[in-house]
Symmetry: C2
């Protein structure tokens, strides 16, 4: 049996899967919570408190915890080390960090162990508000050609806002940094050339996925120009040439092969081909068995990422990124997102000490419209299409008889309206969205949610067969990098077709009477959600008031 | 010692107070929950289920429970029966009923014991939606002169919608009814001429307060014309002359004196003067020691009623009623209201199993603006100024960190914005609002709420000294009816001045920095609350969708 290994780095934990190359079956898997978890209260020494917007991680966790999970999974799988043909890696993004040229994270250098901004910044670190404004303002002023590709707005969670934040607040960290890079790229670097301090920047690969979606890179023109960076901050003029070494490699293309030292650390054999990294959500596309244009993959969890390959390039206001070869080779990859989905439902449950199961049961008995309650789902801002972090959530239609399950269902319906808005936004630019496949934890947990989505979209929704489609997607990229199935787009399609697919026993189909009701409700949602309407304006004013 | 007795009929219970005429001290009091409570699920026999909008009461409770409370209070007071100089009665309104000419409620007639619409309809009975629309449409079409006096809209809780509802759905009840009347008038009738079946319509008095505010009556032209009623429904042409006997008597004027049989039932002596009834909230004006023009009395409870005497007549869109001698003789009485205040706070507490005390404590620590959450307080519709029962509540500004206490404070602030809107509405018609006195349960329970009101209004707010100002107001009317202090406006002022006043140890004064913040927040509230804006339109559409 030939197998591939997928490393899946989430926000709280890392999962390692061992996957049968012939059919995509997960032979074994293991996971570990990160020893330091999300560092958002204080640094590990316990003496340095963090501001409320901070979310950091400890790079040693990524090595130690993934190595432990890898050993457990491989042992449990019973395969011999020779049967492992490739390794793939997906990672949260933009989770990024400053490193030395030998691969050592700056935060592990004693002098910087108590400096928060020397640590890796997790994707949801929101410390770079002013920097994001600056980066956008300069880009707009200079009419940077890449700006349209990101719907006109660079996000607070992206790469260069986080670099600039460090430069502004800890110039010493910026100065001493040799390499700014994505955590996924750093991990791949450790596999093929490390672990640190054995790495060399000559052997550093950067994923076109992370670079394309989070760092304004594109295949034709590369990263933004020195002139642009100089206008943002004089010291950043040469940030790319001086502090961002590495060659750009697409996911599914070999970044290198497992080093001797890394093989020892992970209990594997040296020489296994390793794919360039991919963003976790994006790995969900191959992992859901989707290898064609026009199928939107809804990766649904605490937040949702909706991705689609298309044959046409387009710049669409509010679509966070369109990147050539960003998801799979041969396509333009579209990324859109909703900043709170499962998180919104969890807010209700946790804030009021309720039960998901109980609320789901009651919500399922209600007709479309949550018995008169309509919500806006922007509890963590609106990503696509408004790209506005100052927006917030809302409930309208509360009466003295309103029950918690109505708010719960209203939040579900609101996220469904949000998806429909995204689909309409993409289609309005001439890019058809033909099919829907859902993956991630939420679709399995909540059949009600999936039925609501089918009814609101008035489309069939299939489910990814695997409940580990992101990790499976990473393993598939390992197979592609190995070359055992050949190379190029056809090999990719064949491999994905063999290793991943959708369930055929469970397809959510729209119900005609619900569709009609949701047609009316969606119009109301859009009225409330108007970018320049009374509600959105009030939300921004409330945010500014604080 | 001379004392007066006040009967205070609330929604759930009746309270009887024995009050020292010389200084307004409550010598003793007692209360009883109604044996049948609010009848909103099924009729007392347990076999007839009620529609969700129904809210009925059992007339026997009003007699039996008030008699028990009266005996207990009088015994506890230690006064001799000769010392009781007068009796006053306040009652919820429009709580109304069909009766026979001998005072027997129609629902107690065996044939109608299982007919819901034969029972008294409580003020919050909302079964007459279509009838309210009809009554308004015909009035507008005919340009009825009295319509302006009610802000252009007759409410669903008022008298004639409830009559028409019965006629439409239970014509047999309508036909057999000899007398349609307010429960307060029915109770006074029982005192002076009953109890039933001993009553005669010759001795029936109707309160100008209830008739003026809830039945489109005014001193100059009486009730609406037969032509109007005929246009509403042919059978209603002569509803006033045929089914509404009685003479119109102002609160504080003697309706009669306690009958022998009633004296026996209540454990009192026959012959005590009894005042015409008054609406419960309106009794709060004299009960708060307010006898002048320009002082608004905020009677705050589950809902709020804000009343003011003025020297000028005015028709103001959205002000529910301006009635000459409606509250006190010699003034035009303005009535405005908010349909959910304490009820809105209770909704949050009860729906999510929280604690008022805990929420109050946390809310008090927040700055104005509830840390970014803004609410609309229309959980039971908007009374003044929009007069629209289809409106509902809303929250805007919810984030993943929003806590219950933010929603709680946001509801408090929203009700304060609602009062400010009412004040601005009245003042825009040229009627100044100079002073504020708060009474009812809420002001005592929540100092935070009162401070928010003072900050939002940017005015001082005094509190009624008595925590039973409504019941005290009823007793004061008993004194006025007795004539022991003389008669006419000056006697009324003197009596009120002696028996009721405001606290001087606790005055809520606006805080300058909070006032400035609330100025901004109030603007946002008004933007969201726009009558024809996106939020209000959506609320109406949501209501229609159900």
């Amino acid at each position: 049996m030939s197998v591939a290994i997928g490393f899946d780095f989430g926000t709280e934990s890392v999962r390692v899967v061992v996957v049968d190359v012939s059919n995509g079956r997960v032979v074994a898997q293991a996971s570990r919570d990160y020893a330091h978890g999300v560092i958002d209260k204080e640094l590990p020494d316990g003496n340095v408190k963090l501001p409320p917007d901070y979310a950091l991680q400890h790079p040693q966790d990524w090595l130690s915890d993934s190595a432990a999970a890898c050993k457990e999974a491989v042992t449990a799988s019973g395969v011999s080390l020779d049967e492992i043909v490739g390794i793939g890696v997906d990672f949260t993004s933009c989770t990024m960090m400053p490193s030395f040229a030998d691969g050592t994270p700056v935060c592990l250098f004693e002098r910087f162990g108590r400096v928060p901004l020397a640590y890796p910044k997790l994707w949801k670190h929101h410390g770079a508000k002013a920097e994001t404004d600056r980066i956008n303002a300069v880009a707009r002023e200079r009419k940077e050609p890449w700006l349209d590709r990101y719907g006109g707005t660079i996000g607070i969670e992206w790469f260069f806002p986080k670099v600039l934040e460090t430069l502004n607040h800890e110039p010493g960290v910026y100065d001493i940094t040799d390499v700014w890079l994505e955590a996924g790229d750093w991990f791949v670097w450790q596999l093929v050339d490390g672990p640190f301090p054995k790495c060399s920047t000559k052997n550093l690969s950067r994923s076109t996925c992370q670079a394309g979606y989070k760092a304004q890179w594109n295949r034709e023109t590369g990263f933004p120009s020195p002139e642009y960076f100089a206008a943002v901050h004089p010291k950043m003029r040469n940030v790319v040439s001086e502090k961002m070494p590495g060659r750009l490699v697409a996911p599914g293309v070999k970044a290198g092969q497992l080093s001797e030292a890394a093989a020892e650390l992970f209990g594997l054999r040296a020489g296994i081909p390793v794919s360039a990294a991919i963003i976790d959500a994006h790995a969900g596309v191959p992992g859901a068995g989707v290898a064609d244009a026009g199928t939107m993959v809804l990766v649904m969890g605490t937040s949702s990422c909706h991705m689609m390959n298309a044959t046409t390039d387009a710049t669409i206001p509010g679509v966070a990124g369109v990147v050539q070869d960003g998801i799979l080779p041969g396509f333009f990859g579209y990324e859109t997102g909703q900043a709170s989905v499962g998180d919104a439902f969890a807010w209700l449950v946790e804030t009021f000490d309720l039960s998901h199961g109980d609320l789901n049961k009651k919500a399922a008995l209600m007709p479309p419209g949550s018995r008169g309650v309509l919500a806006l789902d922007w509890l963590n801002g609106c990503r696509t299409p408004l790209m506005d972090g100052r927006l917030s959530g809302a409930f309208v239609g509360i009466t003295l008889n309103t029950e918690p399950a109505q708010l719960y269902r209203a939040l579900m319906e609101a996220t469904a309206f949000g998806v429909r808005w995204i689909v309409e936004t993409i289609e309005s630019a001439g890019t058809p969205v033909d099919r829907f496949v859902a993956s991630g934890g939420l679709p399995v947990k909540s059949p009600l949610l999936m039925q609501i989505y089918a009814d609101v979209l008035d489309r069939e929704i299939k489910l990814a067969e695997s409940d580990q489609s992101v990790a499976l997607g990473a393993a598939i990229l390992g197979v592609l990098a190995s070359g055992i199935n050949g190379s190029g787009p056809e090999a990719a399609q064949r491999t994905i077709g063999a290793m991943a697919r959708q369930r055929h026993d469970l397809v959510y189909r729209p119900n005609a009477s619900a569709v009609a009701q949701y047609q009316k409700l969606y119009k109301m949602y859009r009225t409330l959600a108007d970018k320049d309407g009374a509600v959105a304006r009030t939300m921004r004013e409330l945010r500014d008031l604080k």
